[in-house]
Structure formats: C-alpha cells, structure tokens
Symmetry: C2
Subunit: 238 residues, 2 copies
C-alpha cells in the first residue's frame, strides 16, 4: 500500500496565519520530490481567490500550486498530479463538486494505487474518509451521495470541540452528535481531531501529529483520548 | 389559507424542563378544540421513550398524545390527526423517516388544505420550511432529498447562535454558514431563531413570539434583527 496522507483538522489556528501551524509537516510530507501541488478549491465559492491564498502560502514552502478549476479537464489534471491538496470550506459543496467533476474515483486511484501524496484540511480531510456523515458543516447543497473518497476505513470529525460546561446553549454537543451517528447501524469509528492536530498516514502506519489530543469514538464502546505522537495504525485495519 | 403553525426554536431552554418555556403558547395554539395530538418522534433513535416524554408533558397541558410510529399506517394516522407535533433531534434522520413513511405530502396537505395545526421544535421546525439546508445537525443518514414539507416559503435556522468574540475556535460561525448558503443561487431567506424564540403563523400572518430576538438573513442584503412581537407576515409572501 503506497498510500501517503496528511489529514489536518483545520487550516488556520487561532492567532496564526493560513497553514502556519502545520507548515513544517507540509514541507516534510511533500518533500523534495514534489515540485507542483494540485489544489482543489471546490469547498469555497471564490475558487480563484482561494487558489491564490494556497498558492501564496505554498510558494513560501517551495511548492508551485495549480488550481484544478484552471485545468480544461479536471480528471486529466488529477491523472497528471504529483501531489493533491484539498482545502477546507463547506464539505457538502466540496463533495458535490468532486462528483460533478467526476474526480472522486480518479483521486482514490491515484492516491491508493500510484502513491500520490494527498493532503486535506478540514472539509478536505472529511472527504478523504469513508463518508461526510461526520462533518460539522451546514448542508447548503445536496450531493449525490455522502460517500467520500475513502482513503481510510474510518471517519474524521475535524475541528473537534469539547463541550463547554458553562454554556447555556442547548444545541447538541459534538459528542452527542457523534453518538447519534453511532446509533445508526454499521457506522465506522470517528476520530475527533481537535484544532491543532493532524493525522499522518504512510502505507499502513498512522500517527497523530500536532499539539492537541484526539478523541476516538467507536460504536458501542467508550471514547478514548490519544496524545500527539500516538500510533493509530490499528484504525487502518478495522 | 387555513395554515396554523407554531415553529419553536428549541424544546428545552437552559434551566427549565421540556417545553416549559413555550407551554402557554402551546395551550393557546392547540386551544379547546384539540383533544389529541399526533406526535412524530422520528428525529430520535428511541421513539417510545421520546413519545413518553412528549405524552407526559402534553398531559399536563390537557392533551392526549399518539405516537405516529404506534399506528399501523402512518399515512392514515396523518389523515385522521386533529393536530401534529414534530419533535426535535437529528434533522437528517427525521426527514429520511418522513420520506420512508411517505407522510411528507400528506402532512403538507393536511396543514395547508385542512387547517390541521402543526407544531415543530428544532428539527421539527426545520422540516416545516422549504428545506433542511440550514439545519445545524450532523448528516448522520442520507435522506432522498433536502426538500422539506414546505409549510412556509423560507428557511429557519433553529438554535441560532451569535458568534462568541472571545472564542479561539476557528470553525465557521453560524452567520458564516448561512452566508455560504446564500452564495448558492435562488436560496430563500433564513430566519435565525435564537433559543427562547418561536414563530406563530396563522393564515398569512406571522408573529415572532418568545423572549429573544430573531435575525433574518436574505440573499444579497444585510441581516436584520426583529424583537418578540414583530409582525413577520412579509416572509409568507416572498
């Protein structure tokens, strides 16, 4: 299995700039061999502005960026990509566009079979998993399916948020929402990635990186906390 | 137009019991003519327990409750209902079950044509509008459509929450999420109902009730605040 993934909870950490908190990991992940990264800006409305943001940041790290929407044939752009980065925004809009542009299968193939490195942040991390069933986003558009690219056999909840005991708000907590997901049959585990954390997958090895812990929710079991540096490879064989 | 609706933001307000904050409005809304209310518990996993909760509360207000899942034919139960109450929980699970039980059209017909009073809270308020595109819930199941019962020509965001300026969390604010919805073409207005507020619709008259203000988001316009008691009838003719 050639799979190489960097799945980031959030693109911007409070008090720092776009992708600052994970830039060392990005440089290490793409490494010396990658010169150009194919950026997928489908999760935000203004694709040009979003691509400029990514391009400017990646330039400081020594990588060129091509926007997939700038290509005349997006499937061909995926076929030729050295590396792929799907940015955050609205997960429903992102997945709908991935299906409309018929790149879901091609991205899966390139990453799992050809070993093309895949980075996602937030919504881009959601779509790398089994399904978008555990996104936090508002369902502003209707995608043809909630099934996602499926680069790992579990789900992620990015921007995972602990309940605030002082809150007077009565909407469900994040934990309650994930528990409701697990009331449904045959639902996969959900890794709650707090802001500041990310998952590095290399082949069949998965490692938690970043500065915050992650919380793993498994159907019918108590949730478990993992610290940065933890080996989470067992998630890949469930 | 015989339509009569009571659309509540939330079933439980911090520090009080189930439906306590709106019980006077519930009594006034159903009135002396209604003896039995058909309760739709589809939004929660345990339908029996949920129906007991609703039944116990409504008994104190002088109404009997029938759970729609207790009927052998849910469509027939809707046809015979004197009044309908759809409770909160997960909006995706609720809408999927409404479609599976083929009651979406029948509820619309009974409410709009026969004048059967409809009460919703939280998810039950979402499904009364144009679509569930502005729910806060996690998409734990995939409904056949996001189109909802359509008892009013706009959308509602229940549990509307103002941004917390002291928060270090970088997930989108509620306002940002609704703005993303309005980046999509032909999207209806969204009434953000804060916890403690509700909308009473009688024919072509809509009035904001409760103890908190509501915020109206309209595509391409600045959002506007409305105080309890405001006449929002203009929303019904958009």
């Amino acid at each position: 299995m050639k799979r190489r993934l960097l799945l980031v909870s959030n693109s911007t950490l409070h008090g720092s700039g776009y992708l600052d908190h994970c830039q060392t990991h990005i440089s290490d992940f793409f490494g010396k061999d990658v010169k150009r990264v194919l950026f997928v800006p489908y999760a935000l409305h203004d694709r040009d502005a979003y691509t400029k943001t990514a391009r400017d940041k990646f330039k400081t790290l020594g990588f060129e960026v091509d926007g997939i929407h700038e290509a005349s044939d997006p499937v061909d752009a995926v076929r030729k990509a050295e590396a792929i980065f799907i940015g955050g925004g609205n997960t429903f809009r992102l997945l709908k566009s991935l299906y409309e542009n018929q790149v879901v299968t091609e991205i899966r193939k390139r990453v799992l079979e050809d070993g093309v490195p895949y980075m996602g942040s937030s919504a881009g991390t959601n779509v790398a998993t089994v399904s978008i069933n555990t996104t936090n986003d508002m369902p502003i558009v209707y995608p043809p399916s909630f099934c996602a690219i499926g680069l790992v056999p579990f789900n992620i909840n990015p921007h995972y948020l602990d309940a605030d005991p002082s809150s007077r708000h009565m909407g469900e907590t994040r934990e309650q929402r994930i528990t409701q997901f697990h009331e449904e049959p045959d639902t996969p585990s959900v890794l709650g990635l707090r802001e500041g954390s990310m998952l590095l997958v290399e082949g069949n090895k998965a490692t938690l990186l970043g500065t915050t812990r992650a919380r793993l929710f498994t159907r019918g079991k108590h949730s478990v906390e993992y610290s940065p540096g933890s080996d989470l490879s067992f998630l890949l064989t469930q």
